[in-house]
Amino acid sequence: MSSLLWILPLVPTSFGLLMLGVRDRRWLNALDLASNALVATLVVALAQHVMSAGPLRAAGVFAADAVTILFLALVAFLGLTTAIYTVGWMRHKVAAGEIPERRLPVYFALIQIFIATMLVTVVADNLGVLWIAMEGTTITSALLVGFARDRDGLEAAWKYIIVTTIGISFGLFGTVLIYAAAAHAQGGVPEGAMNFTTIVAIAPTLDPGIVRIGFIFALIGYGTKAGLAPVHMWLPDAHSQAPTPVSALLSGALIKCALFGIIRFHTIARGACGPAFAGDLLLLFGLVSVVVATPFILTQQDVKRLLGYHSVEHVGIVAFGLGIGGPLGTYAALLHVLNHGVTKALVFFVAGDAIGRCGSRDMRRIRGLLRVAPFAGTFLMLGAFSLAGTPPFSIFISELLVIQAGLAGGHTLAVALFLAMVVVIFAGLIHHAGKMAFGAPEPSVHAGEEPRSGLLAMSLLAAVMLALGLTVPVPLHDVLVRAAEVTLGM
């Protein structure tokens, strides 16, 4: 069974390399779907195994515990839905001549390798491998962000690669420090000292001073990659210039992998320096992210930048949940990772459609979506309400739990500020979404038919969004509870 961990990243990589040789678009789409479907089945098998027989380890490099399962599920699900969406989207783009036929193989290959690196990040037990995979994601996604080769695309790609590489190098520095602390605790003979499981086991014996500095470097490092304020500034640029499927993957999955890194280091820091230190830092950064994102959301004109800043806010909410800690807080944060990933991908797909249809990214010119594309318009409103955190959608439940945990944990002032910001963002988002959905469309906008594959992807995401809003199914609940225990190092 542990060989499954090796096969998992290999599948998309091999498909990616295979795609380099294929020229025809339809074949590329088919391969893309096949690769993601395979990855999804592997993840399900892995999940069943881990939940029944406990964590799985492979040759000291890879390991899969409950937290991994959660993130694997998210990456696989988003990969699959993005693949479905890409079918219709790519047909439209190629027809409109925006992407030449000859660059298709490169695009699809890059997507597969991008997903592969994300899978490795999440499955990695060795912190070094985690770092290498994270650097891999940065490189592949930078090329994807700059895929359009226009001035803004390249600018976004450059900012993305430079700022995140700086962040990642700080992450490496943090890893080095923690590895050093682990090596010294084990009397200088570091055989498994780089592995997360061993470090967590010996965490109480680590020297708190070193771990404290290491954790700060890792938090700022991986935080830059995740988009925590005030180091978030690359995120709106990169997410707004990337092609729609890539934006969905960036916002939905990549940010979560960075958060996965933060969760790993959070567990180590909790073990070494006690819960207060790591918790307060995460709480602070979470709150700062939510507060910083608010003004930008209110006065935003570009729809994709709006969604970018919204991702910053939701990453802040996850960090806020982790910072509050305790079984309920961590449970809520992990649930929120899932909820936000799904909802954000949906809204990015709808935004992509809207931009394609209305020919402009400026929200003032996107109007009357409900009249021009009724399905996309309804999904836009559903997604907007879900993002803003209203029942019966999933984000309301996780925000409710975060607030409950916060109040139970005695952070009343922080929660009050958090609630105020969430309400202001609610008003801003509904205002933007309302203006886009209602009203009369511009004369030039045509009410063309909506690609079926896009609608399938969106309805899949909307279904999960609504289902998680109404109930938390038992299997998911078990995974979340065990993941929370792993995160808290119990």
Partner: protein, 684 residues
């Protein structure tokens, strides 16, 4: 049939109604019919369940729903208070279900599916709020109610509706956030979402904490109930929805917020024993008084019929809060205060039912005017009385009821509120007593203004000459719409003339909230005839609305016989004398003119602005054309919201301008954050 099977049937009916669009395969006609049929059966079941559980309090509905969420079991229960509000909700829902199909056929929104599904989900979630017995169901239903009504408000598309919808949902959500904050504080302490445990922990709170929580909740609920400082969304949202939905929103949704105030004030946050903190009662009383006076003052200057009615909802919510305020102030103080508290609470509850009835009726009449003339601006209507006799008489009945004039239901609940205020004033003595009397005079002022406003609304719309071609060609609305209106009118007359039975229904919630003897012993209801409240020191204050109505009826018949007796000189029709000029609609008194004296007297509040353009042509003394344009300012909106909004947007754009696009700035932030965090947290 036991109440809990009844209630599950009710929710099933609403579910069928909501699912109608899917089942009916998108054909508009069938969707509408099936949807409204579902709504009707659901509402009728609701009335049945409510009456059943009110009359036999020993069969409470207690059920725990499916364990949707592992951390919170959804539980449902219906006590006296819940049942009474269920009655109010279901009653207006029946009328709306009757009124709906024809209205939507004549005045369709963009998609039939949204209309039907929206209204069913809306009514179902309101019913679920009063059924909720744990925090999570309450919040889910509360937000579901807001979402469904938002969908209905924006269903008709168009820019105006979208903006109205936005303001509405933004304020409603702010209210819910406050509510969620308080609930979760309590849940955090009680470690469970269930109301029973929340009640236990709330009882152990210190008075300061309890009052802080109550004011937070009051803020959240006031935003939803449309109390004055937070009422700005109400005149925007209610007119934007289809009329039968406006009736539901105005008549019923505001009451769900009142249910929240009562549930928190008397039940959830109340201390185990001893009187409630006085600050609660005073705040609610003062909020009530200001809401009622300002609500009706702003209503007077409105010329869109539905906006006028929406502002009146603010006024009537104020009157209900006055009753509730006096009850909060005096309950659990024993002796005479107990009597007055019971009367005050009964007045508030009865007025909830009355307002739902006559406001629903008036909104349905506005809907039928909208169907007949596609107009709602009073200045374009006129002369509809001859063309739409049914709607005219029903509107008049509603107007008399809302102006609290005998013999209809408005008078009964206003009379009880007056009793509560006066007897409360007598019992309180001193400055507090005086304040109660002032509140009573505010209530009287509201009554007077409401009468003036509805004479204007009724007179300008239905009497005199039609002011537009649409108004001239108006035709009476079909029977199904009139059925809805007649039902509510019947309720108004019934409660007005025979308050006995309804007061026995009000007895259950009063005893559920205040305990003690409840209303029975205090308000001697000898059969349907007599309604009286014991005076503080023995004097019996009694009025029998039935006897008064009977006397009035007899006298009216007598005088009619005398007047209608055929006279020798007979009768003649002739045009109205307008000093020799040919009479036409421009002679009639317009709504603006009618409200002019009051605009002049209350100028400080209105700050009226007007511009007059005289087109005199050659001779300056002969005015060929005069154009008058006037506007009244809603102070709450301009001072409070405009300033708040502009402030937030100003700060937001200032922050946004500061962010440079250069990569050097980004890197600078990364280094800066790292250094600061290292310095702050680096050392142990």
């Amino acid at each position: 049939m036991r109440p809990d099977t009844g209630s599950s049937l009710m929710f099933a009916a609403y579910a069928v109604g909501a699912a109608a669009p899917i089942a009916a395969g998108w054909s508009t006609g069938v969707t509408r019919l099936l949807g409204h049929l579902g709504l009707l059966t659901g509402a009728v079941m609701g009335v049945w369940v409510a009456v059943l559980s009110l009359t036999q309090p020993d069969a409470p509905v207690v059920a725990s729903g499916p364990a949707l969420f592992p951390f919170a079991a959804l539980s449902v229960s219906l006590d006296g208070l819940g049942a009474y509000f269920l009655l109010v909700i279901s009653l207006v829902a029946v009328a709306a279900a009757l009124f709906g199909p024809a209205y939507l056929r004549a005045h369709p929104t963009r998609s039939a599916a949204v209309e039907v599904a929206g209204i069913n989900v809306f009514v179902a979630s309101m019913a679920l709020v009063v059924f909720a017995h744990d925090a999570l169901t309450f919040l889910l239903a509360w937000e579901g109610m807001t979402l469904a009504s938002y969908a209905l408000v924006v269903a008709e598309g168009g820019e105006g509706n979208a903006r109205a919808g936005l303001v509405y949902i933004a304020m409603a959500h702010a209210g819910t956030a406050l509510l969620m904050g308080v609930f979760l504080l309590l849940v955090g302490r009680a470690e469970s979402f269930d109301f029973y445990l929340i009640r236990q922990t709330a009882a152990t709170l210190s008075d300061g904490e309890r009052t802080l929580l109550f004011f937070l909740v009051l803020g959240g609920l006031a935003a939803k109930a449309g109390v004055v400082p937070l009422h700005v969304w109400l005149p925007l949202a209610h007119p934007a929805a289809p009329s039968h939905v406006s009736a539901l929103m105005s008549g019923v949704m505001l009451k769900v917020a009142i249910y929240g105030v009562l549930r928190f004030g008397f039940d959830l946050l109340a201390p185990r024993e001893g009187p409630l903190p006085p600050s609660w009662g005073w705040t609610v009383l003062i909020l009530g008084a200001t809401s009622s006076v300002l609500g009706v003052l702003y209503a007077l200057q409105q010329h869109d019929l539905k906006r006028l009615l929406a502002f009146h909802s603010v006024e009537n919510v104020g009157i209900i809060l006055m009753g509730a305020g006096i009850a909060l102030l005096l309950c659990r103080r024993g002796g005479a205060c107990e009597v007055v508290a019971a009367v005050g609470l009964a007045a508030a509850l009865l007025h909830t039912l009355n307002h739902a009835a006559f406001k629903g009726l008036l909104f349905l009449c506005a809907g039928s005017i909208q169907v007949a003339t596609h107009l709602l601006n009073l200045e374009d209507l006129g002369g509809l009385g001859r063309r739409m006799p049914w709607t005219a008489w029903l509107f008049l009945l509603g107007a008399v009821a809302i102006s609290a004039l005998p013999p209809l239901n408005g008078f009964v609940s206003e009379w009880m509120t007056f009793q509560a205020l006066v007897l409360g004033g007598a019992a309180l003595k001193g400055a507090e007593g005086l304040a109660a009397i002032i509140a009573a005079s505010a209530l009287a002022l509201t009554g007077g203004l409401a009468a003036a406003c509805f004479v204007k609304a009724f007179g300008v719309t239905f009497l005199g000459r039609p002011r537009s071609s649409h108004a001239a060609e108006a035709v009476e609305v079909p029977l199904s719409m009139r059925a809805g209106m007649l039902l509510l009118a019947a309720v108004c007359v019934a409660v007005g003339v025979l308050p006995g039975p309804v007061l026995s229904l009000v007895d259950a919630p009063v005893r559920c909230l205040i305990g003690g003897p409840g209303l029975g012993a205090l308000v001697t209801v000898r059969g349907p005839l007599v309604l009286s409240a014991l005076g503080t020191d023995g004097g019996v204050t009694a009025v029998s609305t039935t006897a008064a109505a009977a006397l009035f009826g007899a006298l009216a018949v007598g005088v009619l016989a005398f007047v209608a007796w055929p006279r020798a000189a007979g009768r003649r029709l002739a045009p109205t004398w307008t000093c020799g000029m040919a009479p036409d609609s421009r002679f009639d008194y317009s709504a603006t003119a009618f409200a002019k004296p009051l605009r002049f007297i209350f100028a400080a509040l209105y700050q009226p602005k007007r511009t007059v353009e005289r087109d005199t042509g050659v001779n300056p003394y002969v005015v060929r054309r005069l154009r008058w344009e006037g506007d009244v300012v809603d102070i709450a909106e301009t001072q409070l919201y405009r300033r708040l909004l502009d402030g937030v947007m100003h700060v937001a754009s200032a922050v946004r301008r500061r962010s440079t696009g250069s990569i050097h700035g980004y890197i600078g932030y990364v280094i800066g954050t790292l250094l600061l965090t290292l310095l702050a947290f680096g050392r142990a």
